[in-house]
Symmetry: C3
């Protein structure tokens, strides 16, 4: 159904039907009246001439319209949308492009020990160009202007996808390894301003290839990856970069709009390549301060490491909850293995009645029941989280930390979010900040689409 | 007024009126003639059948048109403009997005003393995405590819604005502190290629919150700000970043299209935070050379500083003039205060008769009376400026400099500008370049929209 | 031919012609029948009233349509396209904007000597905004997110062009010097993943001005340039940057769609400015490893250097071939001159029957005969290349290398390319890697538009 057809119909109604009409009742009536002797021969002739003239005058105009309709056809090809960013797609669903982005402007105030400097930062400032080409292909480039550096550091996503198979997607380029529910959930949509402590074990983004299937009640993804963009082959250019493999399976026996039960399992393997070292560290669920409250430092002789993660999540109307446990085993050459682990559990509740949006293995964006600017108050959500991370094992004294977070989110519109988080690090055992208990208050203003 | 309505009207004219007609004169005439015995019963019957058939044949087509009109509605939602960049907005004024940018390609040649290396540079290369969402909200991200670095250095604007109050705008994120006429005027629009020497006291951009009101004859803006994006909390991550407050009030007793009188007053306070130092410096109204002809160096023990600025500007047809005086007082711990100051006065004249465009407290873009490429010659403007800056006080010998600038601007179109500036540093007293007098010639090619 | 005209025609057909009709046959018939006494005076009056009413009811609707058509006019101004990226242009050909980009995701595996670390990288990740303004002017900003750094390092193109002269284009800003066929051909379109060894002599991009003429059978371009964006005026800011001049002439006695013969000649001069040094180096036709198999190191006392390049290329249906020879002479102060040179010859063949696209002095993009995603298999191309580079002369022992490359390209669609290259460095004579023979296998996934 499109403009051309509409216009054609209008023209048919106006130019085609009218002649039919003109050629029938009025023509018939005139002929009848002439036959009945009600109009003279001269009058009949004059009426016939008028009829002919009118018909003739319509013909070139009809042709002109046909020609113009061909030109109009092109107008008709694309749809343009502008609910934040710009989205253009062809009506035949062969091509699309979306230009979007996000900005997160943060401020934080710290107290307790250790001393952590108060401050502000642009946490993320991203633009992306994403689209569809020739029906079966997709592409994306996303860059983070708040995280620039050498070797393409700020490049988030940069990939090609192929969607020509029935239920499977192939992807090649730079993108996130499939691992961990909180890491698969976009930073735009996570419940708190920063992810929980076990984000120390996030698999991150690498250049690689991945196959994935996403259905209503389960998803499966597995891929082979090189090293992160910022990793190079050493000062002498002779070290092999690392490589890895990652897989994640999720199962959602219940997946309705406001009622979800999700289980997930992730496996992540990484060979450290010629570099032969690794490290794990984490800030106190904050980012402005550069202090890592737990930190293994460089683990030498690290041949490879293997992570295993278990996920559970649920949505019940306005209530949502999720928990993850991740364990990491580092294999060292000529030394005993190391085992680190962490877990978190969190719950959220919308006072305004919205539901977290679950989409094939991860959480998506919030659509408030009413928007500020359209007479509404947006969506208001309260969140509570407990998380723990243990980076101490054998000779590695990275420290162990527990923290509790209370958060408030206000989604003024689907594209805007204002968050306030209070994080209380309950304790740090071991490491550089042994027995210290920082706490902090941080706020974020975010636009994203 | 939109496409759907237009099409509906056309359809009404063609499909609705014609039946009315068909159902009236011709029907009436046939009935009359039958009553008068002018057409036989058989003829009447045949005419009625023809009438019915034509009516019936129109009905499904009418329904098809109605359906198609619903589909066409979407075409109708947005307006796309392309006068440089891309602008899309919804017709209901709820959403808009503009993708724009600027490039300034410069070259400079130096003579006199000190030696300053000739060269070229891309002074600014910016893209921005800016728009409106849900009627009351605005957003912007602007990045400068010519000024990259750590901690989001190149991020210029990154904010959310709320415009739901009658005359007030709220802003949160990263943007310019409200202070100084020449700094509030975009680099696209300032009279010379570089701002005058007192730009050493520009407040710059910080993450913060601001409230502002802009009316025809006055504007008022005030905000609280954190530190600049590139400032972090120190090597040990334990220094608080600085913070500041800034306010600016402007008054335009005359504000007509070609006749403006403007007064302004700005206050800017900044606490140096845990860093405890500051510095002021300035190049010779050029940027390619890295030499700062006046430079306080690091001022230690600087607790905070306070700037006060007074502005005056006018437009009289093709003539424009503006002047500013800014003084800065640095409070030092356990040491006497420091006072620095600077001022400039400048005037411009359009040979081609255009007027500088004044918009609620700052100057905006030039629209030539005729454009090159459309048979015109663009706008030609001559400018003259005197500026002075004194960064010496007590134990700080930053130096004092005066300079004179002669500039020629050619605005070939509203989006293009070519500028040539000759800067003569009349004298430097004190500092590293005592008694030296560099002069320089610089050119710029700029596209911006 | 546009929407407004179309709609006007439709309205004319429907609203104008129908009244003509209504006012002619039926009016004439009624008048005749009345004159003939076939309808009574009362009946005639009633018919006249009906006719008048119908006419009157059409008038305000006609006016409403006229008004609405004026509003519709704006819809009509622009064309939006989305075959990868977003393209918007005005129908009057005065303005256009294209937002496009490219991503190249690479992986490489090395063997032989020297040791070169295997790895992955995003070779290029670019976005550009390019367009036309006020008919005669063009602009472009292109940034490479995979090549960031100080002083605008990632800025590829940033210029203004003027196209108001008949056959000549003027350009000012940052763009490629006109020199070398393989360098003028975009990295999106070159036959192999990396250009041949003589790319060591590529002129690169600088800020400058250029005049060029491109006709069917020949092209000519010449310009004056400053130094590269990353070059600054030294630690003390007192060194002049370098400058250069470059010219290229091409001649294509045969230039048909599938049959091309091309000859080219390039001259490139560069003064090293206050820096006074230069260097030439090249990797083994790979980029992931940082090892330069030939490398002059810093050549001190280098006053200036002059490059001369000769090009030849041909297309014969699915077959294409090109070769270049480039020689460089470095003039040193108080020391004898240095002469370096290199050449390559390469050939490609499309199994699927496509032809390399030649466009006024360089090669452009491939359009497969059939696309994957539309039932096709894309275009498949095999390439073979021999290249050599000699960077040893007099006291400079940069080394000399020969290499052979075998490549396979699969263009799944006009916007996608997957390439696999095997490079065998036949020998290195002299330099840091004397007598070593690395070989390597590298793959690339590319989207570009």
């Amino acid at each position: 159904m499109n403009l051309k057809k509409t216009l054609t119909s209008i023209v048919m109604l106006s130019s085609l039907n009218t002649p039919v009409y003109a050629g029938s009742e009025i023509q018939t009536l005139i002929t009848m009246l002439h036959e009945n002797g009600m109009v003279s021969d001269a009058q009949f002739k004059r009426l016939q001439i008028e009829l002919e003239q009118n018909k003739a005058s319509k013909k070139p105009e009809k042709q002109a319209v046909e020609k113009q309709l061909t030109a109009v056809k092109k107008l008709d090809d694309v749809v343009v949308k502008v609910k934040g960013g710009i989205m253009v797609k062809t009506r035949d669903d062969e091509f699309s492009t979306k230009l979007g982005g996000r900005v997160q402007a943060d401020a934080a105030s710290y107290s307790g020990q250790p001393d952590m400097g108060d401050g502000t930062e642009i946490r993320r400032a991203r633009l992306y160009l994403q689209g569809k080409m020739y029906h079966d292909w997709g592409y994306k480039l996303q860059y983070d202007f708040a995280s620039t550096g050498a070797h393409g550091k700020g490049i988030a996503d940069a990939f090609i996808s192929y969607n020509g198979f029935d239920d499977m997607q192939l992807k090649v380029g730079n993108f996130k390894d499939p691992f961990s529910l909180q890491d698969q959930t976009s930073s735009k949509y996570v419940l708190f301003t920063e992810r929980a402590l076990p984000e120390a074990f996030a698999a991150g983004r690498h250049i690689g290839v991945m196959a994935s299937t996403k259905r209503k009640h389960w998803s499966l993804a597995g891929g082979l990856f090189g090293d992160s963009l910022t990793t190079t082959n050493g000062a002498n250019h002779n070290q092999d970069e690392g490589w890895g493999a990652s897989a994640r399976v999720t199962f959602a026996p219940i997946n309705e709009k406001t009622k979800v039960v999700h289980f997930g399992l992730g496996l992540n393997y990484r060979d450290t390549g010629g570099i032969g070292t690794t490290s794990f560290k984490q800030q106190a669920e904050t980012h402005i301060s550069g202090i890592n409250i737990v930190n293994t430092g460089t683990i030498s002789n690290a041949k490879d490491f293997f992570k295993l993660g278990a996920e559970i999540a649920t949505v019940r109307g306005a209530f949502s909850a999720q928990a993850e446990y991740i364990t990491t085993r580092v294999n060292r050459k000529g030394m005993s293995n190391l085992n680190f682990y962490g877990w978190y559990a969190q719950a959220g509740y919308f006072f305004t009645g919205e539901s977290r949006h679950y989409k094939k293995g991860a959480f998506g964006g919030i659509t408030p029941k009413s928007n500020v600017g359209e007479g509404g108050i947006g969506a208001w959500e309260l969140g509570l989280r407990y998380s723990t991370l243990d980076l101490s094992d054998r000779n590695i004294d990275g420290g162990q930390a527990d923290s509790m977070t209370l958060g408030l989110n206000w989604y003024a519109t689907p594209t805007l979010r204002f968050s306030a988080n209070y994080v209380d690090v309950l304790n740090v055992n071991g490491g550089n900040y042994n027995n210290q208990q920082p706490h902090l208050f941080q706020v974020r203003s975010q636009w994203a689409f």
